[in-house]
Every structure is written in structure tokens, then in C-alpha cells.
Symmetry: C2
Subunit: 493 residues, 2 copies
């Protein structure tokens, strides 16, 4: 395929060149072209959401097992409450990214990243070794267009109406407007490597750009509904790529029950624990868009967030990615700082901030609990000691030695069991806490789940910290040290 060919009129029937069977499996092996070129990577990111952070090989990241369990719960149905031990695992693990594979589900086109992590020998992020870490430079977002399908786009008799601005933006090869009815054949490749052919035509009253022949086949094959997004990308050499992003994740309803959900919870925690104990690799199938916070975040972003002293009353904004990649910035206030599950994950930063939103109108989901790295305080102070919960590393040991805590079931792996858990006030299980607690587990069908955009915590984009703000002195959260760095925030508040 080359750029010139896109300008030719259709001479072949409009159907995907690679035949697929009823289960969306290629009858011919895919060309693997996708794995090799940058455009595939760009298309993958466009389908994932252009602002979704996926780490790259070589980066240092923080991995939060609680978030991994939350993603699991968002992706599959519960299969009963089962006894679950407390794994003796820290709530965050500092890792090096060994390998990243950008993948796509064969049946549904849902994208996910298979990330291979290895825990760092030095887990103290304050150590000199980590202090000198230089993050990889950020990559630019690809140029593409994304359109939410209208009922007209998804009707069986019509075609796809291309917004004129995307034609003007150069996302499509230009039509020869000297023709009486300007038209051309477009050949675009999806993430599986399948070719799709469409007739691009300029016609109607008023005149519109349309994809006609081939569109219906595409709609049916991809099982698209109104509200899903169609993504179109044009490379520098004119190569065309296409992808989709569904309005609601279908994973929960299409996922197969290869092993029980209970075993999957064990699997996440046991593999992380094994990797942590032996400094060996483990794999994470990462779908950060399925929940409202990332659980693998860059070391750089974590450290910038950790320098902020989050207090009750702190006002903040959160960047959300809405429909057609539009950015939103709802604002709110921190109303409480507390563990989601003190027994299983004491002093964890995962969703430790309870918040109140000023405006929750619109379709976007506003989580009741957020992680520190999700938000951008509009007023804050800097801590001398960076970690929001600086006593975290000793927390599990302290708990175990405290009166009333059961003796260790196993040296090493587990530090308690459900028997203790059922007497606690939280009454939730490790691995199930998020589906039972307040609003952290949204119904994906009810509200769209926007993805929190990564914050740009560079100091010159932050507002001046407030001096002499009221301290939150109660344990387990330490009060911060007030500093004045003369910073400013480019946002209007």
C-alpha cells in the first residue's frame, strides 16, 4: 500500500482483503507489520486514548497491587466471596520496565499493554540511586481524528459522515475536486493487520464527505454501536490506519472464565509477591482505561506528587479525558485522607484521598477516592519528607506485632487471613475491597469512565504553595513541612 494508491478510484470489490472467520480469527496469518512500524504504535495509542500513560522499556515505575486488583474487578464478574489471605506485599513496588507489548484482543479490538516488570533491589525511592534517575523524554502524540458514531453512522443503509474539519486537517488524502462527483478508494489497516476498503465520496445536499461502500461491512464486523468511536490516522507517507474505541468496555461481558476470579486475585498477588521476593520478572496486562486511576505510574510523576503535602481542604483539579479525546478539568476538595483497607494495605497511597467534587454534572464518572498522583492541587505546600505516608515501610511489621493480630500463617507469603479480616471494621477482602467500598467501582455501563490524564507536575506549572496552612497531624498521616518555593500555576482558578 502506498499513498498514491489512495487516490485511485475503486477497481476492486469493497471488502476486507484478509478474510476473517466468525470468531474474528484471521484465516490468513496477519502480516505482523503492526509490530514493526511506528504507525502501529501510534494507532494503538490513539485507540487507548492518546493521553494514557504506558511505560516504555527501561523506565522506572511504581506498581500498585491494589489497582491491579481493582482492574481485575472491573474486567470480570464476581464468582462468590472466598476466603483470601493477606499477602505480605507492600502497597507499592518500585520496578524497572523490562518489556512492553502493545496488544489487541482478537474478538473485541480492545487494546491492552502486556508490561513485564522487575522489582528494583533498592525499594527506597529516596535513595541516591533513584534520585539520579533521568526519566525518558516524553513522546509526541500522533495526529489522528476520532469521531463518536452517530445513529446515522451506524444505520445499515447509510454511510459514515466525515466531519469536514478532519478532511481539512489532512487526516484523509485530498479528493480531486474537479471531478463531477469527487471520490476515491481508501485502504486502511487495523491493529490486527487487516485491510479495510472504503469509498470516500463527496456528495449530497448539502455536500458532505462520506465513507460509503465498505462501511457497512466494517460496522458489522467490528460490531459497532452508536456512541463508539471511529479512529482514523494518516502517516507521513500517506499510509492509512483505522481503529475503534468502544463507549463501554465489553470485557466484563465477553471475558471467559478460564480460572475463577478468586484464583485470579491469588494470581495477581502471588506473582507480584514472588517477583518481589526473588527480584524476578512478572507480567501485568495493563488496561488503565478500565478504572479511573493508573496503577503503574512513572517514577518521575510519583516523586513529584510525593513532594506535595496533601491536606484536608486542599482544592484541586483533575484532568479527565472525555469523548473524542476532549479534555475536562473538574475541580474538588480533599475531605479526608485515609486507607481504603487498613488491615490489608495499611498506609497505602492507593485512593487514600477522599474528595468532594464541585460539579459532577455531565456523563463522566467522578471517583469518590483518588490517588495523590491523579490530582493537581491549586494550592499546596511542599513536604521536606517526600512520601505522603513516610512510615509505610514499617507499617506491616508494626501491625503484625500489635496485640490481637494473629500469628503468621506462613513465614513470608501471608501475614494474616480472613479470620482476622472478618472482625475488622472494614469487612472487605484484599482483592475485593474496591467493589464493595464507596464508589470506587463504577458501573461501566452507566457512566463513561474517563481516563485521568497524567499531570504535568513540573514546578513552573504549579501554583504558589500556601504558608502556614493547617496541618494534619493525626497518625498515620504525618504533617508536612511548609516551604515556599515561589511557584506559580498556569491555570486560572
Amino acid at each position: 500500500m502506498d499513498g498514491e494508491r489512495n487516490g485511485l478510484k475503486a477497481k476492486v470489490p469493497f471488502h476486507p482483503r484478509r478474510r476473517i472467520n466468525v470468531y474474528g480469527l484471521p484465516l490468513l496469518p496477519p502480516n505482523n507489520q503492526g509490530e514493526k512500524d511506528d504507525l502501529h504504535v501510534e494507532l494503538w495509542h490513539a485507540c487507548a486514548g492518546p493521553s494514557v500513560y504506558v511505560p516504555r522499556a527501561g523506565e522506572k515505575v511504581l506498581y500498585f497491587p491494589q489497582g491491579h486488583i481493582e482492574q481485575l474487578d472491573a474486567c470480570m464478574n464476581q464468582d462468590g466471596i472466598m476466603e483470601m489471605p493477606i499477602y505480605n506485599l507492600p502497597s507499592k513496588i518500585l520496578c524497572r520496565v523490562m518489556h512492553v507489548q502493545l496488544k489487541v484482543e482478537p474478538g473485541t479490538d480492545e487494546v491492552f499493554a502486556q508490561i513485564t516488570l522487575i522489582p528494583e533491589a533498592e525499594q527506597d525511592e529516596e535513595s541516591l540511586e533513584h534520585r539520579n534517575y533521568q526519566p525518558l523524554p516524553q513522546k509526541a502524540y500522533p495526529v489522528f481524528f476520532s469521531k463518536k458514531l452517530t445513529p446515522s453512522d451506524t444505520s445499515t443503509h447509510g454511510g459514515f459522515s466525515i466531519p469536514k474539519r478532519h478532511v481539512d486537517d489532512g487526516c484523509l488524502p485530498p479528493l480531486d475536486m474537479s471531478q463531477q462527483t469527487p471520490q476515491q478508494e481508501l485502504v486502511a489497516i487495523d491493529l490486527h493487520g487487516f485491510e479495510w476498503r472504503f469509498r470516500h465520496i463527496y456528495r449530497g445536499q448539502p455536500k458532505r464527505h462520506l465513507l460509503t461502500s465498505g462501511w457497512s461491512t466494517f460496522l458489522t464486523s467490528k460490531k459497532l454501536l452508536a456512541g463508539d468511536e471511529f479512529i482514523f490516522l494518516r502517516g507521513e507517507k500517506g499510509e492509512l490506519r483505522l481503529g475503534i474505541r468502544r463507549a463501554t468496555t465489553v470485557l466484563k461481558y465477553t471475558s471467559t472464565s478460564i480460572i475463577s476470579g478468586h484464583s485470579m486475585r491469588h494470581g495477581i498477588l502471588a506473582s507480584a509477591f514472588h517477583a518481589f521476593s526473588t527480584r524476578s520478572m512478572f507480567n501485568v496486562n495493563y488496561r488503565p482505561w478500565s478504572i479511573s486511576s493508573e496503577f503503574i505510574i512513572s517514577f518521575d510523576r510519583y516523586m513529584k506528587s510525593a513532594q506535595i503535602d496533601y491536606c484536608i481542604g486542599t482544592r484541586f483539579r483533575m484532568r479527565l479525558e472525555g469523548e473524542e479525546c476532549a479534555e475536562q478539568r473538574p475541580s474538588g476538595t480533599i475531605i479526608s485522607i485515609e486507607d481504603v483497607d487498613h488491615t490489608r494495605w495499611p498506609n497505602s497511597e492507593w485512593r487514600c484521598l477522599k474528595v468532594k467534587w464541585y460539579h459532577t454534572a455531565g456523563e463522566n464518572f467522578h471517583p469518590e477516592r483518588v490517588c495523590p498522583w491523579n490530582i493537581e492541587p491549586t494550592e499546596f505546600r511542599i513536604k521536606k519528607r517526600p512520601s505522603i505516608l513516610h512510615n509505610q515501610k514499617k507499617a506491616r511489621t508494626d501491625d503484625v506485632s500489635s496485640p490481637g493480630f494473629p500469628t503468621l500463617l506462613m513465614d513470608g507469603m501471608w501475614s494474616g487471613s480472613i479470620k482476622y479480616e472478618s472482625q475488622s471494621s472494614s469487612g472487605v477482602l484484599q482483592g475485593q475491597e474496591d467493589s464493595d467500598t464507596d464508589g470506587n467501582q463504577p458501573d461501566a455501563l452507566r457512566k463513561p469512565l474517563p481516563h485521568c490524564l497524567p499531570l504535568n507536575h513540573s514546578w513552573d506549572s504549579m501554583q504558589q504553595p500556601i504558608q502556614n496552612q493547617r496541618e494534619i497531624g493525626a497518625a498515620p498521616f504525618s504533617g508536612g513541612q511548609v516551604e515556599s518555593l515561589g511557584l506559580h500555576n498556569s491555570w486560572s482558578t
Copy 2:
């Protein structure tokens, strides 16, 4: 729905009454009727294969973790070789069945059983407590018909041709043959509770029974191909049920990667280990038809098998379920008795018998390794000590204390790691051994995977044991004690 209604002529359009969306999800909630009546259970068993053993609540069973891992490998694609510890788990666990749910995948109609097990406090199957165990009485198989779809059945313009014998068997309500063109509407419910309507007509040259209107919709919705089986069941009150069994499992190609395969392996072993250590419940999603041996077998069946002294040279037959539930009995000889993976599962009975088949013609898969309970020796002797590997319980401890074995990584959970494994002769990983070794992991697309029928090891169906047969004295397999019980076998050999 009642029986009389089936005899009425069609007055409504032929389409499934319950609408389903593109992902096979009900737009109306299913009626849950399936969970309540016996016919649902019978239909489920017909779809699973009528001779597949699924334990019932209250039964005692033996659970083999190796088989569970093998099922996992058969159901999903590998996602890379990762370091895997050796879990300190016995190769078989004596359990009580707490709960069984007969389930069906929403997208593919593949059936599976979610079985909740609890390990018994007394693991010695020879103990008095277990000796007095009375197995539950066997249930009769349901009456149904099953037909492998022909290319004609699956063509878009035709209908489904019903073999006359199934009409004569009473699987369908009788037609009024006094009509010029005898016909009726059939309304049948599938495992999801969806109603499907067909016109049953007797016509053509020569006259045939056909399902016409409604058949094409059913074919398309269920994505059926030639070779898949269509199952039809009629209850005592005339209620009609239908189901499907695919020629090849689509699980491997449709399963979503919610967590990594490596984490799933951890999940199976960690949840079993936790349950075993704390005598708590764990769930198994059971698909014994995906591999060629069951890994949950009844206590009764295990004990009968364990009394037989399996020797090299022993001839046997194995009952296989072929197409359209036809039974086959290929025969072979035991050529070796050895561990699949001595490091990870020393002295395990799982596939410990290497066999040679006399005739491997036909489409059925003949495994190179079988479990003792899969086969029926045509000549054998009885052991005084029932277990084929009577030193199993001490095996792991012995290994650990032997020179060269690494010290325990963790007290309790693990007893070694891949570092030891990579120096061993087998070179395979726990949880991956079956995909790499000789022929235990068939390509489900290449050959149909028949399910081994449960054996009827009642003493009056067995052949007379051979006296003075050559003993297999080499460790780890003990020679059996020769006994003569004057038994006979009803098979012709």
C-alpha cells in the same frame, strides 16, 4: 411454554423471542429458569458430553493441580516463559465438594462447571474415615439427540435435516401426518434461557424432516460451522431444549487476557495451596473436555484404580467419547511408569503412565501419557497397598533434604525455584510442563479431543488378575503384591 403449543402452526415471526445484542448479551434479563429445573441440568450435561463426570455437592474427590494447569494451557495462549517457583503442594488433594454451578459462557455457549472444593483434614485416603465413605448413586443420562452439522445444514439457504431415527425416538413432538405438508412450530430454550423458534416440516423428494424458518438465525447467532454438534432434548412434559457443542474449542482464540498466563498459573497454585494450608474453600472452573484426562475424579473411582498394580507391559483399553457421543475403546500397552516432572511433582500419578497404542487411526487424539484412572487393564493384579506410589506423601520432604536441593525460599509456600529447575534434566516449568512434553498438549484444532469416559471398575467387570507377573521393582514405583480374586472382565479382548 407447554407441550401442546409445539404442535401449533407458526403464527409469529421466526426469531428468538429474547433479543440479544451484538455480544450475545441479553437485552432482557434471562429468566433464570435454567438454574431451577432438572431439564437445564440435563441439557448442560448433554452439551458437556453425557459421560463427562462432574462431581456433585457432598462428594469426596481427588483434585490434581497438574491437570488444572494443563487445562489452563489448553485454554489460553502462552505469554512468555517466566520464572516460576515450586509450590509446596501435594500432587493430589483429597477434597469434599461444597458446591457446583453448571455454567455457560455468554459469547460462545461453551459450558463449564464452577466447583467449590474444600480440602479434607484427613488426606490419607486409607484412613478409616474415608474407608467408610459411600459414594453418591450415579445419575442416569438424559435422553436427547445430537447431530454433527453437515455443510448442507450450515449453508445459508438450506435448513437443518433431522435424521429420521431421532423423530422416531420421540425426541421431537410428533407431526400431524394427515396434513398435506405436515409441519409445526417448535419452541426450544437454550442454556441462557433464550427461546428459539423453528418451523419443523416434512417435505422434499424424498420426504425429509427439516427445520427451516428460524434455523438460519440460530446458525448465525451461534456462529455454527459444519462439524459442530446440534443437541436437542425433550423433557417428559414435552418441553424442548437445545444446545450446541463445537468441534473445536474456541476458548483459546476468544479468551481475553484479563491477567497474564503466568499470573494465572500462580493463581491456580496459590489458591490451592492456601486452601490446603488453611482447610478453606477454593474454586475450580472445570472444563475436563478441554484436555484428555479429568483432574477432579471421584474418590470411589480413584480408590478402585489405586488397587490395581500397573506394570510395564500391562495391556489396557480406554473408553473415549467420539463424535455424536459414540463410544470408542482403543487399546494399548503401558511402556513406562514415570513422573512427568520429577522436580516439581515428584511421584505424582498425573499422567504417570506412558503408553503405546495399537491403532491410532481415526480422528481421535490418543495421548502418549495417561493417568491410571483413565484406563481399564485387560490383565492386572491387585496390590495390597493401594496407592500406585505409596511413598508419595514423604516425597517432597525427602527431595528437599537431599544434597543439591536448594534451601527453602519461603517456609511453607515454595520449596524451590526455577534456578534449580533450569539445571534439571526436564527443563520445564511447573505449570508449563504439559505444553512442552511429549504429546500431552494436543493442538485442539488438529484433532478432536475426545473425553475419556469414566471407568466402571466394579469388580465384576474386571478380568482375572495375572499371577506371578514380572514385578516392576525399581524405585520410585513399588512392586505390587500378587493376589488372585477370581475376577472376570466382560470385555472381549
